[in-house]
């Protein structure tokens, strides 16, 4: 009887009606900070925004390294080798029904919405977090931004030289010069198309009242409980978007039956319930209980799910029908030197020898074994695996990769510090979160073997950025995740006009590198461009402005009831392809 009473008290979360398809998915960490695309910057802002908003272009689900039209009827075309792009919007794409529109009914997306949304990125009232995406790109756009931000009111109706409206559905954008990354930028969530009415109607609360064209929509601002949950509902007027065709899927994907919904209209789910997990244990237990569809395997649970040596899923998981999937991330995890620092910086042979000595003393493989279950890829150069310019076998001949303590000691002596004598302790700034303190301690121990003393400064993220932006950190720990799948994005970290407070935090400067960087900006993928990427990569390796590099491999587990699931972190618009097999729910 007691059990019966307790059963009646037990609450089964998110009871869906028999006809409804409801997905329960996790967001690791505390989730989005804003549902306004131009105010977002994190993965979690991205993950949330793209359910409600859409971009002109989008990554392909079957092959996320490629982009395809989303709000466009076809891929943009160019007649002048990428300086001017012509776009044609897909007709009949409607914004979500919302009180901000006349009669509460969403209207069709037009050229004006595209221009308005792009202009919002540079409006200082929106935080200017994403200005870097469009700087030095569109003809007359930087001047427009400067003028409007200096005036009392940001005038969205003022013209931009590079914007040319042809009609309600067609337009051209002229760039300052051919900038190849421009099309990638148009697939990034910060350039999502928003309706002006909604921005003006909701004012400061627009970030809680998402009104887009996406496959899902909010019914009420309370559907988002910041740091806790986000519930989105199927957009009944979603435009024609189909599940990827059979021929887009690889053989392995087809073995996982990812092709079975080919050609069907999406989304499949009526509702998605996202839960934010700041701690890993509750997320892991919710997955094991079958309450969430997939999980990114936290490091401390890796060996529970996988054999550490073979990385094979353990049989007990396979017996439960759980499927594993892994992705190599476009990571560039490195320990940088400030090239302006009087001790570790500089380009003279002794300074380069000092940095090389330290690189030879650091054992990145040991860091991988201890902290990443041996799942990270150690590689040479700043370009992550899978991208043009990444070295074959992850190695570049002659790149300073440790551990080679004899070589390290020899170079240290060449630098004028035999066995570290005369070398002052080197301040190393690192974020004190996660296991960074332990990683730093390990690196300190590794460097101590050749007599180099590291002086760790474990600080919060803000202080780390402040120290690097002000060029005060001699050495620091950083990680870069590519914004788009092009090595150019990583090479930009060593382009001298991007010196701190820009993203070139090592303040690296080499005129030849800068010249080549400006050249590749205008080039599309080609063997010639790849050769230049390799040349630039090798320049950086020779000058050693950092010790690196590492790229993580992400492991996912997928519960048997979640179908069509192929997790990727290249983009987050793939939840619309997910479906549920209710017969496999626990």
């Amino acid at each position: 009887m007691i059990l019966a009473a307790l059963t009646s008290l037990a609450f089964v979360p998110s009871q869906a009606s028999a006809e409804e398809t409801v997905l329960q998915l996790p967001i690791r960490t505390d989730g989005p900070k804003s549902l306004d695309p131009v105010q977002g910057s994190t993965t979690y802002d991205n993950m949330a925004c793209v359910q409600m908003y859409e971009t002109l272009l989008v990554n392909q689900y079957a092959d996320p390294f490629k982009i395809e039209p989303l709000l466009l009827a076809e891929m943009p075309t160019t007649q002048d080798e990428g300086k001017t792009w012509r776009f044609r919007l897909k007709p009949g794409v409607k914004f979500h029904d919302n009180p901000c529109f006349e009669g509460g009914v969403g209207r069709n997306v037009t050229t004006d919405d595209v221009f308005y949304s792009i202009k919002r990125v540079v409006d200082k009232n929106n935080g200017l977090k994403n200005v870097w995406l469009l700087e030095n790109t569109i003809l007359g756009f930087d001047e427009y931004a400067e003028k409007q931000n200096a005036s009392e009111r940001f005038d969205y109706d003022a013209p931009v030289a590079g914007f040319r409206k042809i009609n309600g559905l067609e337009f051209e954008i002229e760039l300052t010069k051919p900038v190849y990354r421009f099309l990638y930028i148009l697939s990034m969530f910060q350039t999502s198309i928003v309706p002006r009415e909604a921005v003006e109607y909701y004012g400061k609360d627009f970030s809680f009242n998402a009104v887009g064209t996406g496959p899902f929509m909010l019914r009420d601002p309370s559907d988002w409980v910041p740091k806790r949950s986000l519930t989105v509902y199927r957009n009944p007027d979603y435009h024609e978007v189909f599940y990827p065709a059979r021929d887009q899927w690889s053989r392995e994907d087809m073995r996982n039956r990812l092709h079975r919904a080919a050609g069907q209209q999406v989304p499949f789910a009526d509702r998605i319930e996202f839960t934010m997990f700041v701690e890993d244990q509750p997320m892991w237990l919710q997955f094991r209980a079958g309450n969430i569809g997939y999980v990114e395997v936290p490091a401390e649970y890796f060996e529970e799910a996988f054999d550490k040596r073979t990385k094979e899923l353990r049989p007990e998981f396979e017996r439960q029908g759980i499927r594993a999937h892994s992705n190599e991330l476009l990571d560039f995890i490195f320990r940088a030197f400030n090239m302006l620092d009087p001790v570790v910086g500089g380009y003279t042979p002794d300074k380069i020898a000092l940095r090389k000595a330290m690189a030879y003393a650091v054992d990145l493989q040991e860091i991988s074994d201890v902290f990443y279950n041996n799942t990270v890829i150690v590689y040479d150069g700043p370009i992550p695996p899978q991208l043009d310019g990444h070295p074959e076998g992850h190695r570049v001949e002659g790149a300073p990769r440790g551990p080679d303590l004899d070589k390290a000691r020899e170079l240290l002596a060449e630098a004028g510090y035999p066995n570290g004598e005369g070398l002052p302790p080197i301040k190393f700034f690192a974020n004190r979160g996660g296991n960074t303190p332990e990683q730093t301690e390990l690196m300190k121990r590794q460097l101590a073997r050749i007599g180099v003393q590291l002086d760790p400064q474990l600080v919060d993220f803000s202080t780390l950025i402040e120290a690097t932006n002000n060029r005060k950190a001699p050495m620091f720990s950083f990680a870069w995740s590519s914004d788009y799948p092009d090595g150019e994005n990583n090479l930009a970290l060593f382009y001298s006009p991007n010196k701190a407070p820009g993203s070139n935090h090592s303040n690296y400067e080499r005129p030849e590198f800068d010249r080549l960087y400006e050249k590749i900006l205008t080039m599309g993928p080609s063997p010639e461009r790849t050769a230049i990427y390799e040349q630039m990569r090798d320049m950086v390796i020779d000058d050693v402005p950092y010790i690196g590099s590492l790229a993580r491999e992400r492991f996912y587990l997928i519960n048997p009831w979640l179908v069509n699931c192929k997790p990727t972190e290249r983009y987050w618009g793939w939840f619309k392809y997910l479906d549920v097999d209710e017969s496999k729910r626990p």
């Binding site: 977090k129 701690e279 991007n498 820009g502």
Partner: protein, 316 residues
């Protein structure tokens, strides 16, 4: 009594102003602007952000502005991190926190006072030793261990054994009917941890009382054990009991950071730690101001309660 309360409030105003000043000054040791920048920011963009955040104004101006918010009880500045008005965040976070802390406080107080009384009354006997052992054991294990094990066995493992989810692994839904599912387990964990400390304290208080003459007199008069414990001893031990309970009152609002983080309860503890992690000054300041106010009020109320339970105490 009212004159006393008024005077105490007056005396505490400089203390309160000092606390707010200290919190604001300490926060500004580090520059938070850098945590909110995008990629490749220019010096102009950094300056613009500093202005937007209100950090370009002199510290004194910022301090006076914030005092104005406190006086008018309107924390309508927006969170830098979440862009929501701070007061909305606080109002949203208080109910989930109280759904945990109030039952936890009441149950802990009742159980630990009873356990303290019994332990003191049977001092030196097996019951006392057993209780003291259990309490010391409870105190010796980290709160985090209780949470991790409690969540695993109390929610996940038990659900597998029962075939239904009696206690939620994590999550929160408002409403009385949902309380048991979402809150009972965190409350139980909180009670187990707090009971060790409280029972030891109450036992010490009761042991001191049990050696007093009036207890000897009551025993010699033939008064029953239960009456001695729950009427004579308890009544005379009320001053330290009230002190202990009143001191914990402000924590009803602040909540438990660890419990809220692990059980996904969107309460004040979680809100505060998120704000600290993201250098969200408007939220941290409002939180600190609120907590300091509650603490001062609870101290004043403690004195008032002394007078109410002990006729020998006069508030003058």
């Amino acid at each position: 009594m009212w004159a006393y309360i008024f005077r105490r409030v007056l005396y505490n105003i400089p203390v309160y102003l000092g606390i707010v000043l200290l919190v604001m000054a300490l926060l500004r040791v580090n520059d938070p602007v850098y945590a909110y920048l995008g990629k490749n920011p220019t010096e102009e963009q950094i300056a613009q952000l500093r202005t937007d955040m209100g950090l370009d104004a002199p510290f004194l101006v910022q301090y006076v502005d914030f005092l104005g918010d406190i006086v008018t009880l309107s924390f309508d500045d927006r969170s830098w991190d979440q862009k929501r008005p701070v007061q909305d965040m606080i109002f949203d976070a208080i109910p989930p926190t109280m759904a945990i802390t109030i039952p936890q406080l009441v149950i802990t107080a009742l159980l630990s006072i009873a356990a303290g009384l019994i332990s003191a009354f049977y001092r030196g006997r097996w019951l006392d030793r057993g209780l003291v052992f259990a309490m010391v054991l409870g105190m010796s294990v980290s709160y985090l261990v209780y949470i991790i094990l409690g969540q695993f066995f109390g929610a996940f493992w038990l659900s597998e054994k029962l075939g239904f989810e009696l206690f939620a692994i994590e999550g929160y839904q408002a409403g009385v009917t949902n309380w048991f599912h979402y809150c009972a387990l965190p409350v139980a964990i909180g009670v187990i941890v707090a009971m060790g400390y409280d029972t030891r304290f109450y036992r010490a208080v009761m042991v001191e009382e049990s050696g007093k003459d009036y207890i000897t007199t009551a025993v010699s008069k033939g008064v029953g054990k239960r009456r001695i414990m729950f009427v004579h001893m308890l009544k005379n031990a009320m001053i330290p009991i009230i002190t202990r309970i009143m001191i914990t009152l402000p924590f009803i609002i602040t909540g438990s950071i660890l419990l809220e983080m692990y059980f996904g309860i969107p309460g004040m503890g979680r809100t505060l730690i998120n704000a600290v992690n993201s250098n969200d000054f408007p939220v941290i300041q409002a939180f600190a101001a609120l907590f300091a106010a509650f603490f001062i009020v609870s101290l004043i109320l403690t004195d008032v309660c002394y007078a109410l339970v002990d006729p020998r105490v006069r508030l003058s």
